[in-house]
Structure formats: C-alpha cells, structure tokens
C-alpha cells in the first residue's frame, strides 16, 4: 500500500492528471453543455491539447482567462464576462464550471458569484443556460476526483428537488422505469456497448455522462457549436425517480458518489459494482441487470420472455450469452500462451482493478498494481476481484509516479506493461510490449474506440494480449514458425 519511496517529495512523470480535466470530460458528456474553467487561460488550453491528442476531436473549453489584476482582486468580474460571452456564442443549455488551483487559492466563492450572475444577467426563464459548478483544486485530488465530483455536482444541482413526490406516478407511466447508470471514465466504445447491453435487457437507462458521440463524432461539413450527443438534461433531472442506480467503481470515494447521493436524498436503490471488465466482473453486472429486469420492481413491465433466456441457469439475453460463450472458448484456446506471464498494470484505480481481474482470469499474474490516485481502497479491491485466482496477490502502490513504477518494474521484470500511453518510455526501457488501454493514448490513433468493458471488451483485450505475447515469441524465435 505504501509508496515504495516514501522519502521522496518530488514527483517525476506523474501517473495522474489534474482535477479539472476530469470535470471537463464529465461535462463534455452532457447534451448541449460547454465546459468552463474558472482560472487563467493556460490550464484550459493545456487540457484541450491533452484531450484532443487522445480523442482527435475538437473540445472547446472556455476560461475566465484571469489576469494579474483578477488574481489579486478576485475573478468574479471575469467569470461573469466569460459566462456572458460563452452564452452569447455557444447558446449552451448548460455551462459546467470547474474551478482551478488558482481560483481555489484566491478563494473565489463560485456559489455566491453564480448567484450574483443569475441576478444580474439572467432572464430567469427557459433561455438561460443552467449553471453547474464543481470545486476542483488539483492540490487535493486527481482527474478522477474531478470526474466523479462533476458527475455528482450535475446530479446534486439538476435533479428535481420536489420530484420525489410531485409527478412521480404520471412521469413513470410516461417514461417507463429507468435505471441510472454511472459508468465513470470509460471510452466512447465502452459507452456504446453499455447502451446495447441495456437495450438487450430491455432496460431504459440514463447514462451519465455520455461521451460516446461528443468525443467520437462523425466528419461534418460545418463546425458544430456544441457537438451532438451527451446525456439529455431532462433525463438527468429525472434521475431522482429512477428504479435503481448502478455505479461502477470499487474505489470511488463515498463523498463523490452520485449514486450514493441519489440513494440518500431520493431513495434510489444504489448498486455499486466494479467496472465490468473481464469475465466475472461482467457477470456481476449482467446478473444485476437480469435481477433488475426479472425480479426487481420492473418485473411486471419488462420481464424477458422465456424464449429469450438461454437456459434456466443463465439469465443472459442471447447476444450476451453468445459473447460470454465465445470469450470462454477463446480463453481456453489461448490459456497456454499466457501461462506464467507477469504484468505490471497502472493507471486509474478502478481501471487497474478491472484489468487485474481480467488478467487473473486468463492466467496472467499481475505483479504490480500502481496508480497516481490515492483512494486507500485499491489493495482491498484488487484482493476482492482476484485473490481466489492468484497464487499471490500483487504489490499495490497508490499515490505513485512513473519513477516509483519504473524502479519496481526493473526489479520485477514483468513480461507485459498494461496501461495508458504514458508508460511507453518504461516499456521501451524494459524492452517489453505495452498494451494500451484507458486514457490517454497519445501515441496511437483511436484511443476512444478501444473497447474494455463487457464480454466483448474482454474478448478484444484478451485477443490483443495473447497475440502480443505470441508475436513477441514469434519474432524472437530463431525458427520463425508460421503457425502457433
């Protein structure tokens, strides 16, 4: 659990990003929203660059562009001018405002400033954009805290306060029962799969946030003011009336849990699962969906017809059952190539947990799990998903950077490195392959189309991993076998 190098105070090649970046990604997943940073110009521009380099999509992040005077006297005036200008130009339905280290340090009170702004500049009617704010000082959390914080802020500030009573019955009849799905930071490809899965279970879902289109859009003939897609605001408003919430993230801190808030404030049943990555984590997710469909309060309305069930033991819809079967079959076909292989896995904590789980299932031993995050929950989560399959639990390091990871990896001599593209220099140094997953992928095309989740995602990752190992063996072989 502890940092391998506890005496070091400097950070070299961080394994985390700054907090507002996560908030920006979450806000980008809301329909009609423009992300806005209350801070100086540099932060917004750097984050745009960073995000663009992964998604190859435009992402406009507005900024208060604070200058020296504002830093001394407060950024209120610039905030208001910025919001006015963004509203005039983008005509957004919502502006997602995240603070930065600078405005947190000078102590700008967003709540108060936005109250003033509303009084001074907004008409108080439909034409006003909604203003959602989140506090994201990077000196107290990484991009994942920023991401979850923004999701929670959206829910806290948008879900109708009085909806619990008023209009509950009528609304339910109109819209049908809905599940809230809070997936965390996953790829557009993952989100598209999650939608398919929900549809197969005949569940309507509000997925928040949804970057599946906003950060993986089509070629256009006009530059969109705001890209198509994202979670509809009216759907967010209704989240307090959902049947249940499913939130991915075994390490997600409770105070940042949107599902937790919906449970405590609106009595929406909360199901916290790990990212459905690998066979068994996906099983758990789909079992829950089956439960919600067949035995839950939705049963009457949305029970799967018997013919759609494969057998009595499996409550999976046919496509999922087939995908699961193929995955298992493939894992059998490939198990020998991976036997005894060792991996170092790094990145966001919940992604690491899912990857360790998948790797354990296919016989790869993770020797080191590393993250720049520090939830304090990583070791326990890793144990939970993989202990029964692994002869020995991996070392787990939270709050570490690539200096720490490299130092350990040199001793552990793994066969594979698995994580985002910032591990490339280490993979190169160690002379081992890097399997690219998660965010960011800055040295390959199509990071947003990497599928991680579900049986399909596990299948793709498995194929990639096993073929990487086989290719390495083939290239290194003096014979050069042309068969496996």
């Amino acid at each position: 659990m502890s940092k391998k190098t506890p005496d070091f105070v400097s950070t070299t090649n961080a394994c985390k990003l700054c907090r507002p970046l996560g908030a920006v990604l979450a806000f980008r997943g809301v329909a009609g929203a423009v992300p806005y940073l209350h801070g100086s110009q540099g932060c917004a521009t750097y984050m745009r660059r960073y995000i663009i380099s992964h998604f190859n999509e435009p992402i406009d992040i507005a900024s208060s562009s604070l200058g020296e005077k504002n830093a001394i006297y407060g950024g209120g005036a610039n905030l208001k001018m910025g919001l006015k200008n963004v509203t005039a130009k983008y005509r957004p339905e919502l502006i997602g405002i995240a603070t930065t280290c600078l405005t947190e340090t000078i102590g700008d009170d967003l709540h108060q400033l936005l109250g003033e702004y509303r009084r001074e500049f907004l008409a108080g009617d439909q034409s006003d954009p909604l203003l959602v704010r989140v506090s994201t000082p990077s000196y107290a959390g990484s991009h994942m805290e920023g991401f979850h914080g923004a999701v929670r802020a959206l829910v806290e500030q948008l879900v109708d306060a009085d909806a619990a009573e008023a209009g509950l019955a009528t609304d339910k009849e109109q819209a049908g029962p809905v599940i809230n799905l809070l997936p965390g930071l996953v790829s557009p490809a993952d989100l598209r799969l999650l939608k398919e899965i929900m549809a197969e279970f005949q569940l309507s879902a509000t997925i928040l946030p949804d970057i599946s289109e906003t950060l993986d859009g089509p070629a256009l003939d006009d530059y969109p003011l705001i890209p198509q897609g994202g979670t509809e605001i009216c759907a967010i408003r209704r989240m307090g009336r959902a049947e249940a919430s499913i939130e991915f993230g075994r390490t997600l801190p409770e105070p940042l849990s949107a599902a937790g808030w919906l449970a405590s404030k609106h009595g929406v049943e909360c199901h916290r699962l790990g990212l459905p990555l690998g066979l068994r984590e996906t099983d758990r997710f789909l079992a829950l969906l089956a439960d919600l469909t067949n035995t839950g309060p939705l049963a009457a309305g949305a029970r799967l017809r018997d013919s759609q069930l494969r057998d009595s033991r499996s409550s999976l819809p046919p496509f999922q059952a087939a995908a699961r079967g193929r995955l298992l079959d493939a894992m059998v076909d490939g198990h020998k190539y991976l036997a005894g292989k060792q991996a170092v896995v790094y990145g966001e904590e919940d992604l690491v947990v899912g990857l360790v789980s998948l790797l354990a299932e296919c016989g790869v031993r993770t020797v080191l799990c590393a993250s720049g995050g520090k939830s304090g929950k990583l070791a326990a989560a890793v144990k939970e998903v993989a202990a029964d399959l692994l002869p020995e639990l991996p070392e787990v390091e939270e709050d570490c950077d690539f200096f720490d990871i490299a130092a350990r990896a040199r001793q552990l001599k793994p066969d594979l490195l698995i994580g985002h593209s910032k591990g490339y220099s280490l993979a190169r140094e160690l002379g081992i392959p890097l399997i690219r997953v998660g965010f960011p992928i800055h040295d390959r095309l199509g990071g947003q189309r990497i599928l991680h989740l579900g049986y399909q995602g596990a299948q793709q990752l498995f194929d990639t991993i096993v073929n990487t190992v086989i290719a390495r063996k083939q290239d290194d072989s003096p014979v050069g076998y042309s068969y496996m």
């Binding site: 400097s10 070299t12 100086s40 380099s53 562009s65 280290c101 006009d222």
Partner: protein
C-alpha cells in the same frame, strides 16, 4: 464572420483591403472566448525546455507539469533530462503553509539523483499567489549544490506566452557570461530561437559549419548549460522568431555589446537570406561569403526540381495559417508562394502591431488577418474562404479535420524537419500528402 466573432473581438480581425490597417492586439484574452493561447508558464517552458542537461522543476500542482511532459520534439544529441517531467505536486498543506520547504527538498533530491548542470525552477499560478520565495530557495540550493539554480518567474496569469519568453530569457541571462570564452573563433555566432524540433538545429549548424562559421551556443535547441555560459564569447547573435529569444539577444547586447540579426530558417528565400546575412556580417573574411554562395547554389540545384512536382499539384490551392508567433507566419506566407499556394487567412496567438502590419504588407488583398483567435472563428474562416489546407498546431488540427480540410502541423510537436532547404521539401511533401489525399472527396463538405 460577424456572426461567429464576439463584438469585443471584432477589432482583432481585419480583412486586407485598400484602407490602412486598424487592428488591436497584445490584449489579454477575452474571458469565455476559448482562446488558443496558453500561459506565461507555457512560454517559459517552450523556450527553456530543450536545454537537455538542466533539471526543469515545475513548482506547483501536478497539472502544469504533467501537461508539459515530453510533448515537444526538441531533440538532444546527448543527455535527455529535459524529457522528464518534474513537479513538486503541491498539496493542500503546501498551499496553506507555503511550499518552500517542499521545493527545497525536491530540488536537493532531484539534483542529487540526476546531477544536472543547472536547474530551472518554474513558478506557476498559485505559487505567485501564496508568495513562496523562489529566489531565496534557489539561492540556498545553488550555494549548497554548487550549480546554478535559476528561478523562472512564470506565473501563468501574469500575461501571455510572450511574458513567459521574457521570464525565460531573464533566467538565462544569469547564465550568460559565467563561462570561459577562450578559443572561440572571431567568426562565431550563437543560434537563438531554434529549438531543434525534429533535429532542425543540426541541419542549420551544418550549414554554418560549411560556411566556416563557429556556433558557440544553441539557444536553446540541443542546448547545454556550459554553452550558454560562454555564449558571450560569440561575435554575433543570430535570432530566429520574433518573440521567444529576442529578449535575451537584447540583454546580451546591453551586457556584452553583441550585435543581433533577425532571421528565419523557413522557406527558400528566408533560409538563403539568413545565411547571406551572417556571411555579410563577417565580410572581412570574404571566403565565408564565397562558401555561402556555393552552399545555396548546391542546395537549390537539388531542391528546386524536386519542388516542382509538388508545385504542379498544389498550384492555386488555398491555405490558412494560425501559429503562435507571427514571425513564423511571415515565412509561411512566402513558403506557400514558393509552392504555388495562395494564403487567404493568417493569424497568430501573440503577434504585435508591427507583426500584423508586416503581414498586411506581404499578403494579397482579401486575406483575413487575425489576432488571438478561437475555434469558432477559425472554423468560419476555413469555411468561408474555402480553405484547402490549414497550418497550425495540435489544437487547430481537429478544427480542420472535422470540416474536411487538409492540415499541416507546424508546431512544437512535429517530427519532420521543416526548416532549412531540406525542410522546404519536407514541407511541400507534407502539404501535398494531406491536400492530395482522396479522402477529402468523400467527405460531406465536398459531397454537398
């Protein structure tokens, strides 16, 4: 155009016509306008980053350091310390109680670990607010470790990138003049303002070597601390790019009386002019000019016929330019002429009034000139002017691609040499590769 530009920005956009140019620039970015600009820190980091044997420690929260980790293609022929991202990763307690102790410990630790020739310590926004005394910490560590430890006053909010260039130059000024200048040739120069992207500096150095001119210090491409320390021994400062290192050249003129010439290495005309200007400066040694003429002749003899094939295809295509500093835009306008293309829009993040006047002088009527633009404006220019190719950096790329416009990366991330004579050919090749792709004909913009 009016529809997409905010009223407060109208004065920073000008369309060349018969009237004299009136244009605002050098203003703080408009709040909420999604400027393409970065910050003071970014400017300092760009300039100092290529000094490969120095430690570059970013004092601040993690983001400022992490976004500048190995993102520029500034190559080194030796040490590669500059490719690592060092940060103090300030936490809440540092913000509350001050970050000086942490900075001190981080510096000592990193200097012990890497034994750098010098250390640069960058100040970021919140450091400026909480008031850490960088100067004092740097002085103490410098005394203890016996290497120069230089504070860079680059708080992000204290202006734009240009202020960052100046902060970087002020830090380097402390190095210049501290080294031994024995043995430096009277025909010697410093190369300022080339960052050795993709190895460009090596190409330029080769030209000067062929001319018989000694290069004392590269500032800062493939830079070394010891070279900068003896840079005052050079006879001439050859400065590329209007903003980045001009301040240092001016300081060196004040401090050591070293004359300055401004050059550009992009495009045939400017590249040749740069070499001739240096040769002319050393006219007491006529052999240099003779060798320079020979060099240019040789290079052009191979280059021009090769360029011709690209020019045939590209003739009459329209280009738009949006770059950080305006000086690069001048060269690009000329380079596009060389390959037969027409520039219909040109802008920069941080140009000055003189820069824009010069752009107005060298461009054709109807050309849009813009200062500190943003995605919506740029997209509307691309569309209205029916642009075939956009030149810019990473942030401009998705704007072009989304609209189905070809793109050429002319920023710090590029991996192709675009400077020098060989660079002109690469430039033509890259422009050609993108403009002539069949993909554009399949996209909505053309299909419509």
């Amino acid at each position: 155009m009016e529809a997409t530009a905010l009223e407060a920005r109208q004065k920073q956009i000008w369309c060349k016509d018969d009237n004299p140019m009136v244009m605002d620039c050098d203003k703080d970015s408009l709040a909420g306008a999604v400027s393409q600009r970065a910050c003071v820190f970014c400017g300092s980091r760009v300039v100092l980053y290529p000094i490969a044997d120095a430690l570059h420690l970013v004092h601040g929260p993690i983001g400022c350091a992490v976004y500048t980790w190995d993102i520029r293609g500034a190559l080194s022929s030796g040490p590669e310390l500059h490719r690592l991202s060092f940060s103090t990763d300030m936490q809440e307690r540092d913000v509350i109680f001050g970050g000086e102790k942490k900075l001190y410990r981080a510096l000592v630790e990193l200097i012990d670990r890497h034994a750098p020739a010098a250390a640069f310590v960058y100040s970021t926004c919140i450091v400026g607010i909480i008031g850490d005394d960088l100067e004092a910490v740097c002085r103490q560590v410098s005394a203890e470790k016996g290497i120069p430890v230089l504070p860079v006053q680059s708080e992000g909010f204290k202006g734009n990138k240009r202020a960052g260039y100046q902060a970087a130059c002020l830090a380097m000024r402390r190095l210049v003049g501290t080294g031994d200048t024995a043995g430096i040739s009277p025909y010697s120069i410093n190369i300022l303002g080339d960052f050795n992207l993709a190895g460009e500096l090596w190409l330029i150095r080769d030209y000067f070597a062929r001319m018989g001119v000694e290069v004392v210090a590269n500032i800062t491409g493939d830079g070394r601390v010891a070279d900068i320390q003896r840079a005052h021994g050079a006879a001439l400062n050859v400065v590329q790019c209007s903003g980045a290192t001009m301040d240092l050249a001016t300081m060196m003129k004040e401090d050591f009386g070293i004359p300055v010439i401004k050059v550009s290495y992009f495009g045939i005309e400017d590249m040749a002019a740069a070499l001739y200007a240096v040769a002319d400066f050393f006219k007491q040694e006529p052999a240099i000019m003779a060798r320079t003429k020979e060099l240019v002749r040789e290079e052009l003899a191979t280059l021009l016929p090769e360029l011709e094939q690209y020019r045939r295809d590209l003739q009459g295509k329209k280009a738009a330019i949006y770059v950080g500093g305006a000086f690069k835009a001048f060269s690009l306008v000329k380079a596009f002429r060389t390959i037969g293309m027409e520039v219909v829009m040109v802008g920069s993040q941080t140009g000055t009034a003189e820069d824009y006047q010069e752009l107005a002088d060298i461009t054709d009527p109807g050309t849009i000139i813009v200062d500190d633009s943003n995605p919506l404006e740029l997209a509307s220019f691309l569309r209205d002017k029916k642009v075939d190719l956009f030149v810019g950096g990473v942030k401009e790329r998705p704007i072009a691609y989304k609209l189905g416009v070809a793109f050429c990366d002319h920023n710090h991330e590029r991996k192709e040499i675009l400077a020098g004579f060989a660079g002109m050919l690469n430039f033509a090749r890259e422009v050609h590769a993108s403009v002539m792709s069949p993909i554009w004909r399949l996209l909505p913009r053309r299909a419509a």
